[in-house]
């Protein structure tokens, strides 16, 4: 059994929670396994945001509801967190941040950062003091922590760096050991692992997939990918352009693929809801494209900074008319890399739109990921030099025609959003219409040659089979690894098209339990009509939070009994 310590830092937007999170994660990883996640309000300043740091002696991937140690960094955050606090929770912060009533109910350790930072000389040092305090609390190596401060502040003046190191010591020395906070056996992650968040993993995956063009319009929580790729643009030769709107973004991406680039549009559900027509354009012109949908709770503006898996249906059916598409849903950090890479390969190979579905929780959580070497194979270009008689939509036994690009070869690349003949010119011939429609739709089967297989986690003998896709991976994998009942977990990475390879897993189960972060069970519905398999139970959550391990324990226990 795992031992974990869940530390939550609660403050307001603008207090720099994200910086402490990074410092802590970077330092903790040398001594423990660690997983972090955050929840923030849709505002730039004020409100109440939290960062959760889970420390363990084994790998951890799941959001925890129950808080062991709660740092209150401002006044009005406690009420919102009440449900996550229990008898044994230790609350640390300025005395005034907790009401007298609550002080009677909970253990509180006073930590007056305002005063301490005055001592340190500047209120800006509060975060470093806190870092020192926590470092002592969980027995981190001070030399490593100092190194982290130095490297993160390397652009600052030496005296400021020194002052921060002093502030760190101040916090470190201020902490008094107490038995109230449990100790976790040290056990750091292996050398071939690294800490990374979903946004970075996916962005690097895209680079590995040859992504060299990005057109997007900012939208939380998808903007991180845009920002990461902007930062790497020059080094990796990626043309990044902020589009005037999402419609322009996807049309630009399609134009880029037409010209031989590998383009990406990153957006969220609301932005994608504007891209349907362009998706359909990719469909009929057989011009590939890759779209990243970072899900957040809808409808409409909904909860802009929260998490949900509510846009699977939209990804499945967006665009008018009928055409094939591929939908990938990484839930594990490695898969964000791998599928981020493979998306571009699949788009190029099959000349179809490929959608990568993630969500706020997945993108903004940091966890450990096994290092890897990307395969060259996925960089293979499927573009060919054209001959003078080149026909863009040549019909043959194989539904994928040779794709040329303008400027390379002796043929013309003629592409039409109207129904067209082999030469790309528009036609109204009934028979050609049917041939072209059949050609396009035939790819749906072909795509399954490259089906990204699901992972069965847990024993291959089971009564209950949990089905999850995307970001529920972490919590479900933790559940299954720890649970003793006859329950395994089928982690689906490619949600569309689904392969009949899944059927043996599904048929074996006595009870199929679909776990989804939405209100209606969109994947369960897909499973029903597409593979003719009915989920017996749907475990759904749609308040804007991810599933916590505690909730999953409770609800799966109920479901499997």
């Amino acid at each position: 059994m795992k031992e974990t310590l869940t530390i939550v830092l609660s403050g307001e937007a603008g207090q720099g929670l994200q910086t402490i999170e990074e410092f802590l994660v970077q330092s903790i990883k040398s001594d423990y396994h660690v997983f972090s996640n955050k929840e923030v309000m849709s505002r730039v300043r004020g409100g109440n945001n939290t960062v959760e740091i889970v420390i363990s002696d084994k790998q951890v991937y799941a959001y925890r509801n129950d808080i062991d140690v709660l740092f209150l960094l401002n006044n009005d955050s406690f009420d919102r967190l009440k449900k996550r606090v229990h008898e044994k929770t230790v609350i640390i912060g300025e005395s005034s941040f907790l009401s007298e009533d609550n002080k009677k109910k909970y253990e509180m350790i006073e930590l007056n950062l305002t005063e301490l930072s005055k001592t340190a000389g500047n209120k800006l040092y509060a975060n470093t003091i806190l870092f020192g305090y926590i470092a002592r609390m969980i027995s981190l190596e001070t030399s490593i922590c100092e190194q982290i401060i130095r490297s993160n502040f390397k652009k600052l003046k030496e005296e400021i760096i020194e002052a921060n190191i002093q502030a760190f010591s101040l916090g470190y020395n201020h902490y008094k050991k107490t038995a109230m906070i449990k100790e976790i056996a040290k056990n750091s992650m292996a050398d071939d692992y690294k800490m990374i968040d979903g946004t970075t993993a996916l962005s690097i995956g895209a680079l590995a997939g040859g992504c060299n063009f990005v057109a997007s319009y900012p939208m939380s929580p998808s903007t991180g990918v845009l920002i990461y790729l902007s930062k790497k643009a020059k080094e990796f030769n990626v043309l990044v352009e902020q589009a005037e709107d999402e419609i322009a973004a996807l049309n630009m991406v399609i134009g880029a693929w037409y010209t031989g680039a590998r383009g990406l549009a990153t957006t969220s559900g609301g932005g994608f809801a504007l891209m349907g027509e362009a998706l359909s354009l990719s469909g009929i012109t057989e011009t590939p494209c890759v779209i990243h949908i970072a899900q957040r709770p809808g409808p409409a503006t909904g909860l802009p900074t929260r998490t949900e898996q509510g846009d699977l249906n939209l990804a499945l059916y967006a665009g008018h008319g009928e055409f094939p598409r591929i939908i990938l849903a990484p839930g594990k950090l490695e898969d964000a890399c791998l599928l981020g890479q493979k998306a571009f390969y699949l788009a190029d190979k099959y000349q179809v739109p490929v959608i990568i579905l993630t969500d706020q929780y997945f993108l903004e959580s940091m966890g450990e990921m096994k290092k890897m070497f990307f395969e060259e194979k996925y960089l293979k270009q499927f573009i060919e030099k054209t001959d003078s008689g080149y026909l863009r939509y040549k019909l043959s036994d194989h539904p994928v025609s040779i794709r040329g690009v303008p400027g390379f070869g002796d043929g013309f690349v003629k592409v039409d959003s109207d129904e067209h003949g082999e030469n790309g010119l528009l036609t109204e011939d009934f028979d050609i219409r049917v041939q072209m429609n059949d050609k396009r739709l035939a790819k749906e089967k072909l795509i399954l040659d490259d089906y990204q297989e699901a992972n069965l986690i847990g024993s291959s003998e089971y009564d209950n089979l949990i089905i999850g896709w995307g970001s529920t991976y972490g919590v479900l994998e933790e559940y299954v690894r720890e649970s003793k009942d006859s329950t395994s977990f089928l982690y689906i990475k490619q949600v569309y098209p689904l392969s009949s390879k899944l059927l043996p897993y599904l048929r074996k189960a006595k009870k199929i339990i679909c776990v989804e972060n939405n209100a209606t069970g969109q994947f369960a519905n897909l499973l029903h009509w597409y593979l003719d398999v009915k989920a017996d139970i749907r475990i759904l959550k749609y308040n804007g939070e991810p599933f916590s391990i505690e909730e999953i324990n409770l609800r799966l226990k109920e479901a499997t009994k």
Partner: protein, 283 residues
């Protein structure tokens, strides 16, 4: 077979007498006279009668969605600066549905030529008002006549810093040819708003009307004078024809993009260094 023409006769779907035929003639002639290489020329269009043009000119084309020609054209040029890119469509296509791309792409100053057939009507959908339809113009939807101020593409383009602004009339093929040639040669975004009679649905703004309500800028006209251009683009009693404004030396989109600063290669020719990506993930 001359460049941009077809081996066999082609079936053109426009109405007999439509101004689009002349625009096609001028476009092909301009490209031929410029000795443009069809294999390095891409026509990008949206949907509409005007937007059918790529079907009738023999070079690369991307005939996209109604209103969405520009974003495709701009990214084609950005991904391969060696290509000559022409975006073409109707007034509904480019100023109506595509209005947001119109205003924002001018700000980018991409090195493309933008041909807009201005027939003051939606032709393909059989006769509703377009953004440039004149007040009072009666259609099957605007049954009591158009009530909105017509869109002034030239004035908008000028106010956003466009570097080549012209108006032409399909009835004057020679002038149109010359303007197209100048536009294609221009380094930067070049807009030509082309008056084009729709003989079927617009009985008001017909050939005679355009003839009567336009005049050509004379050879003394100084197209580099912005203040004067600002007045010209507002003229509506008689619309001036010709290159109304031209500004050289403004950096184009590609010239400004960071990845083209030290490397002029099209994106498709550049290889991804997977080793460097592996470093990112493994350090």
């Amino acid at each position: 077979m001359k460049p941009f023409e077809f081996e066999n006769e082609i079936d053109i779907a426009w109405c007999p007498g439509c101004g689009n035929y002349s625009i096609r003639k001028a476009l092909i002639r301009a490209l031929q006279e410029l000795e443009a290489d069809p294999l390095h020329t891409v026509l990008v269009s949206g949907i509409g009668q005007a937007a059918k043009m790529p079907q009738y000119v023999n070079c690369h084309f991307f005939n996209g969605l109604h209103g969405r020609g520009l974003p495709v054209a701009v990214s084609v040029k950005a991904c391969n600066p060696h290509l000559t890119v022409i975006a073409e469509g109707g007034d509904g296509d480019m100023y109506g549905e595509g209005g947001n791309h119109f205003i924002h792409n001018i700000r980018r100053n991409p090195d493309i030529t933008h041909l807009v057939h201005n027939n003051m009507i939606y032709g393909l959908t059989k006769g509703q008002a377009s953004p440039t339809s004149q007040k009072g113009f009666v259609t099957n939807v605007q049954v009591d006549g158009v009530i909105n101020q017509p869109f002034n593409p030239l004035a908008v383009a000028l106010s956003l810093g466009a570097t080549f602004i012209a108006r032409a009339f399909s009835g004057d093929i020679d002038q149109l040819t010359d303007i197209i040639k100048a536009a294609v040669k221009h380094k930067g975004y070049a807009l030509i708003d082309i008056f084009q009679p729709c003989v079927t649905f617009n009985k008001t703004n017909n050939f005679a009307w355009y003839k009567e309500n336009t005049y050509s800028l004379d050879s003394h006209y100084d197209s580099s004078d912005k203040e004067n251009a600002a007045k010209k683009v507002m003229e509506t009693e008689k619309y001036p024809l010709g290159i109304i404004y031209r500004e050289n030396g403004v950096k184009t989109f590609v010239e400004k993009i960071n990845i083209y600063q030290d490397n002029k290669q099209p994106i498709v020719c550049r290889n991804r260094d997977l080793g460097k990506v592996n470093q990112l993930i493994n350090d």
